[in-house]
C-alpha cells in the first residue's frame, strides 16, 4: 500500500462540512453528515449508489443549498448562494464527463469566464496563451494551449479541467470518479497529477468506487451510507474489508416480497457473447420464472451487453437460444418477436413517447396484433391497453390522455405495460427502481415477483445491493466487461457482491 507517510494531525481543514442536511420533497438526501478536507491531502468519499456523494458535491460547488448544518472555510462559516460563490471560495470540481467546450482551444477553455483583458477591455489572447502554457507545463500536459479541445482524448481533457482549476487558484479540487473513462496508463498519469496537486497544498476530494484507487492515492476516507455519515479516518488505519463493511452494513432492512423461488426449464441460453471494446465471454442461462440479477459497478458493461442481446448493437461473437432453438437477434424488432423485451434505464429518454396518448404508448410494439388488413383497430387497441393498465394499477383519468401529464411512477407503469402487452418470455429490467420513491419501489418489486410467479423470466440489472439480494434467485456479477462471478441466492451477501464487483480478493483472517 503506498500513500504519503507523514500526515500532520493538527492541521485545520480547508473545508469542513458539519451536520449538513439536505432534503428534497419527500426524500432526505443527506442527514447530518460531516466531511473535512485537509490541505495537501486526498480524502476519499466512499459509499454505494444513493449514499449522498453527488449531493455532497453539488452542495460544495454551490449548486444545491443546504437545509441545515454549517460549511466552514478555514474555520469561518460561509454560505454558498450560487456556484459562483463556491468558485470564489476556491472550490472547483472535475466531473466524470468534463464540462468543456469542444470547439474552443485549450487556452480558451482554461480561461473562459475569466480571461485576461487588455486595456481596451478585449481578451488579451497573447497573455491568455502564455499563462495557459505555463499552467500546462506545470501539470506536465503533452499538448499546446492552441490545440482544439475536440482533438484531445478524455484523459487530456481532464488535464485541461485541472489546468482550469489551477487558473482560478482553486484550493479545493473535487474529482468525481475521474478514472471511470480512462485507460490504465492514463490512470497512472492522473495519480501523478494528484500527487502534484497535493504537493501544492490543494485539498482533494476524491470520489471513486474502485478500492484499489482509494488505497493507492487517498490519505483519508469518509464513508456515507443512505445519506448518513458512517465514519472517517486515515486510510493507513483501515483495511479494505473494514471499509467494505462500513460501506454496505445496513441499519434499515427494506422489505422485499416473499418468493417461492420455483424455477422451471431453461428459457434463454446465451453463449459467448463478445464485443470488440465493451464485453467478452458472456455466457449464462435463464430459467422460467427466475429472476436473474446482474450486479456490477457503473460502467461494468451490463447495459452494453443487454443492448447487444436485444439487438440494438451488434456483438462480434455469440449466439443465444430461446427454448432450445438457436436465434440470431440483430434488431430490436427480432428480439421482441422472439419474446425478449428490454425496459431501459433512462425511461425519460428511452421509454415513454411523449406526444402519443397512453393507450398508443402501450400498444406501440403490439400493433401487429391489433390491426387487420393493415388498418389498426382502435377498439382492440383500447382493450389491450385497458387490460394491461389495469393489471399494473395505472392511475390515469383516461387512456386517451397525453402521457406527459402522468407522474414518473405512472409513466413507468405505462412503459412496463407496453412490454407486457407483447406477451414476452424474457423481460430485461435495467435499474427498475432507480430514482423512484420507496413506495413505488415496493410496488415494482411486488410486481416483479408476480411476473416471475406467472412464469416470466426476469433479468434485473441493478446497482442497489439490497434490491439485488432481496429479489434475485441468482446473481451474475460483472466487472470490466467480464463475468466476475455467478452466485446462487444462498451465497448472496453485500460483502461478497462488492468484493466481486470491485475485484477485491476474498478476506483472509487477520488481514489489516
Amino acid at each position: 500500500m503506498t500513500h504519503s507517510a507523514a500526515i500532520a494531525q493538527d492541521v485545520t481543514p480547508v473545508v469542513s462540512m458539519d451536520m449538513i442536511t439536505k432534503t428534497f420533497p419527500g426524500v432526505r438526501a443527506l442527514d447530518q453528515v460531516k466531511l473535512d478536507l485537509y490541505p495537501g491531502q486526498v480524502t476519499a468519499l466512499v459509499g454505494e449508489n444513493g449514499a449522498g456523494k453527488s449531493t455532497t458535491v453539488k452542495i460544495l460547488t454551490g449548486i444545491y443549498r443546504t437545509n441545515g448544518g454549517t460549511i466552514r472555510i478555514d474555520g469561518n462559516p460561509v454560505t454558498f448562494a450560487s456556484p459562483n460563490d463556491a468558485a470564489n471560495a476556491g472550490i472547483t470540481a472535475i466531473h466524470q464527463e468534463t464540462v468543456l467546450f469542444d470547439e474552443l482551444s485549450v487556452a480558451e477553455n482554461i480561461y473562459i469566464g475569466h480571461a485576461p483583458r487588455n486595456s481596451f477591455g478585449l481578451i488579451d489572447t497573447a497573455r491568455m496563451h502564455s499563462n495557459a502554457a505555463s499552467l500546462l507545463a506545470e501539470i506536465g500536459a503533452p499538448f499546446s494551449s492552441h490545440t482544439q479541445l475536440s482533438d484531445l482524448g478524455i484523459a487530456n481533457k481532464h488535464l485541461v479541467a485541472i489546468a482550469r482549476a489551477l487558473s482560478v487558484d482553486a484550493r479545493v479540487v473535487i474529482m468525481d470518479e475521474p478514472t471511470a473513462a480512462l485507460s490504465h496508463k492514463e490512470i497512472e498519469e492522473l495519480y501523478d497529477l494528484v500527487d502534484t496537486l497535493k504537493a501544492q497544498g490543494k485539498a482533494i476530494l476524491f470520489i471513486s468506487h474502485k478500492f484499489d484507487e482509494i488505497f493507492r492515492i487517498a490519505d483519508r476516507y469518509t464513508v456515507f451510507r443512505d445519506g448518513g455519515f458512517v465514519g472517517d479516518g486515515l486510510i493507513a488505519d483501515i483495511s479494505e474489508n473494514d471499509l467494505v463493511t462500513m460501506m454496505v452494513g445496513r441499519s434499515v432492512e427494506q422489505i422485499f416480497p416473499d418468493r417461492t423461488h420455483n424455477v422451471g426449464d431453461e428459457v434463454l441460453k446465451v453463449v459467448g457473447y463478445a464485443h470488440p471494446t465493451e464485453f467478452a465471454d458472456i455466457s449464462f442461462t435463464l430459467k422460467r420464472g427466475e429472476i436473474l440479477g446482474f450486479y456490477g459497478l457503473v460502467g461494468a458493461g451490463r447495459s452494453e451487453f443487454m443492448q447487444a442481446l436485444f439487438g440494438i448493437t451488434k456483438p462480434s461473437k455469440g449466439v443465444c437460444q430461446m427454448n432450445g432453438d438457436l436465434k440470431i437477434i440483430r434488431s430490436p424488432a427480432q428480439a421482441v418477436e422472439n419474446g425478449i423485451v428490454y425496459v431501459p434505464e433512462d425511461r425519460g429518454k428511452q421509454g415513454a413517447i411523449i406526444g402519443l396518448p397512453i393507450f398508443q404508448n402501450i400498444t406501440l410494439p403490439s400493433l401487429g396484433r391489433t390491426s387487420k388488413n393493415g388498418l389498426l383497430k382502435l377498439a382492440e387497441e383500447f382493450k389491450l391497453a385497458r387490460e394491461y393498465s389495469q393489471r399494473l394499477d395505472l392511475r390515469a383519468a383516461s387512456l386517451d390522455q397525453d402521457i406527459g401529464n402522468l407522474s414518473g411512477g405512472n409513466q413507468q407503469k405505462v412503459v412496463i405495460a407496453k412490454w407486457l402487452a407483447t406477451q414476452p418470455q424474457v423481460i430485461i429490467l435495467d435499474e427498475p427502481t432507480k430514482g423512484i420513491d420507496i413506495g413505488s419501489k415496493a410496488a415494482v418489486h411486488d410486481f416483479m415477483a408476480e411476473l416471475a410467479a406467472q412464469g416470466l423470466s426476469v433479468i434485473m440489472i441493478s446497482s442497489e445491493i439490497p434490491e439485488i439480494i432481496g429479489m434475485s434467485d441468482r446473481v451474475i456479477v460483472m466487472r470490466d466487461g467480464l463475468i466476475a462471478a455467478e452466485l446462487p441466492r444462498e451465497e448472496l451477501t453485500p460483502e461478497t457482491l462488492v468484493r466481486h464487483a470491485a475485484g477485491i480478493s476474498q478476506p483472509t483472517e487477520g488481514a489489516a
Partner: protein, 326 residues
Amino acid sequence: MKRFIPLREAILSAAILFLTLLVASRFPGFVAPANLANVFNDTAPLIILALGQMVVILTRCIDLSVAANLALTGMVVAMINVAIPGLPIPIILTIAVLMGAFMGAINGILVWKLSIPPIVVTLGTMTIFRGIIFLISDGKWVNSHEMSPAFTGFPRTVLLGLPALSWIAILTVVAFGIMMARTQFGRSIFAVGGNPHAAVYTGINVGKTQFWAFVVSGALAGLTGYLWVARYAVAYVDIAGGFELEVVAACVIGGISIAGGIGTVGGAVLGAIFLGVVKNALPVVDISPFWQLAISGSAILIAVAFNARSGRNKGRVILKSAEATQ
C-alpha cells in the same frame, strides 16, 4: 383534461373564418360558393405538398427539395407528353408519382444510410434537381400549344362540381387521415419523432421510417408536379421556385412541431388553407402583396410562439391538491 390539439385547430379555423368574413364585408362576392371552390382549388397543390412535408417534419426531418422535385417531374412529364402525345393520363400520373417517389428515396437513402442532416441533403438535392431540369430542357420552356389537350385538361375536369385537382387534394387528405391514425406506419412516424430512443427499443427502425417519410413526400411532390404543369400549361426551370418554404410555412402554421412528433393532418390542411385564403383574399380588397408577405410571416411567428407556449414543460405535479384537479 384540456384537449389541446383540437383547440389549436379551432383557433386556426376561427382565423380563417374571420379573414374570410372580413373580406366578405367589403366584397361579398368572395364568399360565393363558386369563388370559395376556386380558392380551394388554388390551394390544392399546397395542401397536397403540406401533407407530405408534415410526415417528414413529424420524423424530425425536413424536405426542402419538394418544389424542385415538383418542377423536375413536371418538366419530365411535359416532355414525355410532347414526345408521345397519346399517352393516357393514368400512365402520366403513375410516372409522375413514381418519379417523385424515386427522388424522395434518394433523399431518404442519404439521410438513412449516410446519416447526413436532412436539411443539408434536401438543400443539395433541391439544387441538383433544378440543375437537371436545365440540362434536360436546355433552359427552354414547354408551352401550352406543345402539350396535348388531354394532358392540360385533366386537372380542370369537373366531377360533381369540383375540378379533379380539388378532388385529388381531398382524396390525399382522406388517405393521410387514415394513414396517420390507423396504420402502423402512421404510428411509427409519431413514435420516431416523439422519442427516437424509445422508438428503437420498441423495435421501430428510425432511419427506415424517415426514409419512407421522404418517399411519401417525394411521391406527392411528383404528383403535384404533373398537376401544376398541366394546370398552368407551362413547364420551365423555375416553376414553383421558393414554394418549398410556403409548404413548410403551412405545416408550421398548422401546428406541426418543427422538433417532430406533434402534429395532425387537420392542422396541416388548415395551415395550407390559411395561406391560400391570405393569398387569394387580400388582393380582392386591394391590400398590397407586401402586406400579404407580412401577414404570412406574422402568422408563422404567432403559430410558433403558440406552439412554444403550449409545449413548455408543465413541471411535475407535487402538490396533492393540484393532482386532484388534473
